[in-house]
Each structure stands twice: as structure tokens, then as C-alpha cells.
Amino acid sequence: MMRKSPMKQESRQTISGVDFKEYFQPESIQKALEIRAEYGDQIEVAAGSTDLLVANYEKLHEIKYWLDLVKLDQLKKIEVIDNELHIGAMVTHLQLMKSDLIKKNLAVLAAAAEDVGSPQIRSRGTIGGNICTSSPAGDLLAPLLSYGASFKLQSTEGERIVKAEEFFTGPKRNSMETDELLTEIIIPLTDNKREGSWIKVGRRKALVISTLTLAVVLEFEGEKIVKAGIAMGSVAPTPVRLKGIEAVMVDQKLTDLDYKALGREVKASINPIDDLRGTKEYREDVAVDVMVRALKEIERKVSS
């Protein structure tokens, strides 16, 4: 008897090819908000989609409704209004790192944007997406915390301004409601001298989820620190602002501070975990040393 040919294997993978029901690409914020209000958590809000497409890999067909923000040109601007910088939610990492306004006033944010992913990711990914994904490792989040940023959330009911440190509530969780959209990021400007440092620790030089990030922003009157913003990513369930340490630094001269002691304070204020990117012990030890490095860097910048 002839050998039987092996049976053809049935594929058990669900077939995509099922189309979404609706794809909206509104041209006004008002229209976008109405759609958002109507569909609530049924609709996926798409900005650059760099997080969205990864999160829905092989199950894109399960998404029924899309709200694509790409045509909202109002959200792609960076402007100064009343001594505040307003960054539209659809501003990309590439825009941030290229913008003279950002480089001059928010150098730490520009540096962080430059460290995101790769050129492709930076030209698609947006600041709004980075914030709304609310990953503890989101690279823009520590800088936004250290600059004292606030987020404007809009719905058909109105708008509210939420401070960055109140926005993030857990890993990939935040206080945005299902009828809201993030439209703007607002950061106060200052006439004082502002210097900062950005440190991203990752296991390779590109396309890497941060093992730890540190953003330090200091404002000076003369030699005195009048305002300090210190924040870290990937060391706790949310990006964290280290207010206790900020308080210690305010009203001091930078060079009078004990950098190593501050580093140890940083270590004591964070709560990292072991994961594939690094151990808890690693993150704590590195936190001490990068804090010292950041302060030395600022000292160099201030004195030059």
C-alpha cells in the first residue's frame, strides 16, 4: 500500500481580515471629542500608533472603532502663551528634539526625546502617546515631572488641568476618563537660569526600554537653587517625582550639597523591581551614581 501523505495541518490562528466597523479621522478637536464621548472605551485613540500596534499585535482585527488624531493640526504646535510653553499632544519626539523653543527652554526634554527608540519611532511617536501609555519606562515622563508639567484633558463637558504627578496612577494606568482626550502639555517658563541633566540607562544604545531614567532640573537665582525638579522612570510602578530630595536642595548652593548623600537619598526614595532589564539592586546602586553624575554635570554647565 502507498504511504499516506501527511495530513495538512489546520491553522489554529484566528483569521484577521475582519474589518473594523468605523475609522474616524476628524479635523477638529470638537468633532474628535464628540466621537470620543459617543464611543468611550469602545474606541481606540490613535496618535503615532507606535505603542498601539505593538500592544494589539495579531489582534488588530478585534478593534472595532478607531479615532485617529492625525488630522488635528492644532495639536501639532509648540507655542509660548503667557510665560508657559504649550506642547500639542500630537507633537512627535522628532519635533521635540529639533524645536529651538524646546532645546532652549526644556533641554532635558529635548535630550530625552532624542533617546527614544530609533529615527522611525521618533518621527511617528508622539508626546501625547508617551504620556497616555503611562509606562513607568516612558522616556519623556521623568523630564515632564521635573519641569512641573501639567496636562490638559478635554471632553465635550469641558476641560481640566491635571498635574503630571497626579496623572500617573499605576503601570500603564492614568487618571484620564474614557470620554477625554489629552490635548496639551503645559510647562511653566522662567526667567531664572535653568540647568538640567538627562540620563537614560539602557542595555543598548538604541531601541531599548529604559532600565532607569533620571531627569534633574534646577532653577537658580544667582548661585542659589530656587526650584528643583527631580524625577525618575523605571524605578517604581509609575514615573516618580522625588519631592523629598527637591526640598532638601532648594535654597542651597549647589556646590555646598553632598552629592553622594543625595544619591543615597535617591536610592532610599525609589522602589524598583527585578526584571529582565536589570535587578532591583542594580537600579538602586546605579541611581546613586547617576544622581552624582547628573549634579556634577549641572555644576559644570552652571560654572561655564
Partner: protein, 331 residues
């Protein structure tokens, strides 16, 4: 603080399946009337460039521009066994099979040439796709015309070659006359910098000296060295499969890291062309040998930089930072 370190490693690598395995490759060559020379081989070009290599080899033997060649590759209906693209064996095995097929073809060109010109082969010249008598170069016949003539005779201008070297299985003491067909040698020096704040290794320069017999295509050889070394360095400092309770925790490339183009160090290559007696034009294999020295050289460079020996890979920032801390505490 940044600490500089330099490390070196030397390896040897016996290639081919070896150990008495019936390892071989079969290739054929056909000259067509329409100005094409077709090589048939099952050797899979997975990016390493074996297709380029066999064309170069055949073109050299057949004394004609490589542009005329076409390769039918890896088709079980049209090609005979060439063995796998593995064990660093294709240049050596399929290179030799193609070389033999080309030599057979060349001999046939002489044969049909002597019939055409009614003369003996020492009087006949073969060059640039033309066959003629030395004393009358203007009266030539091209390979393509010759293919036509041969076809008229009801034959094909076709040749086949195979390479089937003998190796021996080692005895109970691990000894044999010839376990592998040949060995490739590589020495590598790697310069690095370690950031003591973060435990991160920065790859600076890699110097490689490889005894490869003969570089049939030096650019492809450089590609192999750079690709292999980067893979080895990935193994040395990044690639880390973490298994807990039988489950792989890093199930995707997001947390199973390999170096990106911006992590790659600068390279300098030294090709040592000590021709092998059996390889095609003296060539030996240059695939896997390029990967092996990288991790040990890296480990030596790390030792040079911070005085700590690591015995398991990858040498991750977490391990380096911990070692630096322990070293400080113990001093």
C-alpha cells in the same frame, strides 16, 4: 568613571560536518546559446554570499566575465544535493563542486574546440568567451556559438562536478587521521570601555586576524567577520534567555536583546591567506569561526578593565555593577 580594557582570544574551527559523515556537494554548469551560463546548486544563500562566490569561481575557471552567469539555487526539482548552509561548509564544498564542474566544462570546451578547428588542444586558446587557434585569433567561435553547435549534435554543453572528501570518526581516545576537512583560525583583540556608574560596556574597536586560506571575495569575508563578531558580542553582553518554571520569560525581541547598528564597534581586519591544499583556490570556511572569539575576548577585556572574571554570559550591566560593588567592599 570610564575604564578602558583590552582583551584577546584565539580560536580554531574544524568545518564541514566531518567525523566520517558522507558530506558532499554536487553542482552543474550549462552554457546556453543565448549568452548565459547557468550554474545549478542547492546551496542556499542566506545572505552570506555563496552565490557570488561560486560565480567568481566558475568565471575564473571558464575565463569569462561573471556577468554572464545565472544561478539556479535550492530547487529540489532542478538541483542535486549540496548539503546544508551550515557548518561553515558551502564555500569549501559547493565552491569545490562548482570548480570541478567548471573544470569539466573547460575541458569540454577544449574537446569541442579541437573538433571545431580540427586541431589539438595545445594549439587552441580559450579566453573571454571565445575559442580560437593561437595563430589566428580573429577566426574564433564564441561559447554561445559552440553551445549551438553542440546542440546540433544532439548534445548539451553541460558539465557536473561533485566534491566528496573523506573524514574519519574519532576513535575512543578522540583521535583520527582527519576529523574535519580543514581548520580556520582566528585571533581577535577587542577594546572596550566600562562605565563604572552604570556597568555598561561600550564597544570601541575590534581587530581580527583570520587565516582563511584565500579570500575569494574580501568584502564578503569582512561581512562575515563583522556579522559573526557582533553576534558573538551580543551573546557576550546582551542575549539572555531567562527561563523560570519551564517558561521563557523573554518571549520577544523587545527583551531578548541583540546589538543594533549603533552598538556595533569599529572593525579592522587582517586576512591571512595561507592557502589550503584542498579548498577552492585555497579558500577555507569563514562563517561560524567569526563568532567564537568575540565573547571570550570581551570577557578578557572586561577583566582588563575592572579586574573581575566572569564565567557566565551575558556579562550584563547588573553583573558588572554588582561585581564592582563587591570589589569595593572587599578592598
Amino acid at each position: 568613571m570610564k575604564k578602558f580594557g583590552r582583551g584577546m582570544a584565539t580560536i580554531m574551527f574544524g568545518f564541514g560536518y566531518g567525523e566520517g559523515f558522507p558530506d558532499h556537494s554536487i553542482a552543474s554548469i550549462e552554457i546556453k546559446e543565448d549568452e548565459r551560463i547557468v550554474i545549478r546548486t542547492a546551496a542556499a544563500d542566506v545572505g552570506q554570499g555563496v552565490i557570488t562566490t561560486v560565480i567568481q569561481i566558475a568565471a575564473e575557471i571558464l575565463r569569462i566575465n561573471p556577468n554572464y552567469f545565472e544561478v539556479v539555487q535550492g530547487d529540489t526539482h532542478k538541483t542535486k544535493n549540496s548539503g546544508s548552509t551550515s557548518a561553515t561548509r558551502q564555500t569549501y564544498f559547493t565552491g569545490n563542486a562548482v570548480k570541478k564542474a567548471a573544470e569539466d566544462m573547460l575541458a569540454n570546451l577544449y574537446h569541442y574546440g579541437s573538433l571545431e578547428f580540427r586541431s589539438n588542444h595545445p594549439e587552441i586558446a580559450i579566453e573571454d568567451g571565445k575559442i580560437y587557434m593561437y595563430d589566428d585569433p580573429d577566426d574564433y567561435i564564441t561559447y554561445w556559438e559552440m553551445a549551438e553547435r553542440v546542440k546540433e549534435r544532439g548534445e548539451k554543453l553541460e558539465a557536473e562536478g561533485s566534491f566528496f572528501p573523506v573524514t574519519y570518526s574519532p576513535d575512543e581516545n578522540g583521535q583520527a587521521d582527519k576529523v574535519y576537512v580543514a581548520y580556520t583560525f582566528l585571533s581577535q583583540v577587542i577594546d572596550i570601555e566600562i562605565d563604572t556608574d552604570t556597568g555598561i560596556i561600550d564597544l570601541l574597536d575590534v581587530y581580527s586576524a583570520i587565516d582563511l586560506g584565500k579570500a575569494i571575495n574580501p568584502k564578503n569575508v569582512e561581512g562575515q567577520i563583522e556579522g559573526g563578531t557582533v553576534q558573538g558580542l551580543g551573546m557576550g553582553m546582551m542575549e539572555d534567555q531567562v527561563i523560570r518554571n519551564g517558561k521563557t520569560l523573554n518571549a520577544g525581541m523587545t527583551d531578548y536583546l541583540v546589538p543594533t547598528s549603533v552598538d556595533v564597534p569599529k572593525f579592522k581586519h587582517y586576512l591571512v591567506e595561507e592557502e589550503d591544499s584542498e579548498g577552492p583556490f585555497g579558500a577555507k570556511g569563514v562563517g561560524e569561526p567569526t563568532l567564537i572569539a568575540a565573547a571570550p575576548a570581551l570577557a578578557n577585556a572586561v577583566y582588563d578593565a575592572i579586574g573581575v572574571r566572569f564565567f557566565d554570559l551575558p556579562i550584563s550591566p547588573s553583573k558588572i555593577k554588582k561585581a564592582l560593588k563587591e570589589k569595593e567592599e572587599n578592598s
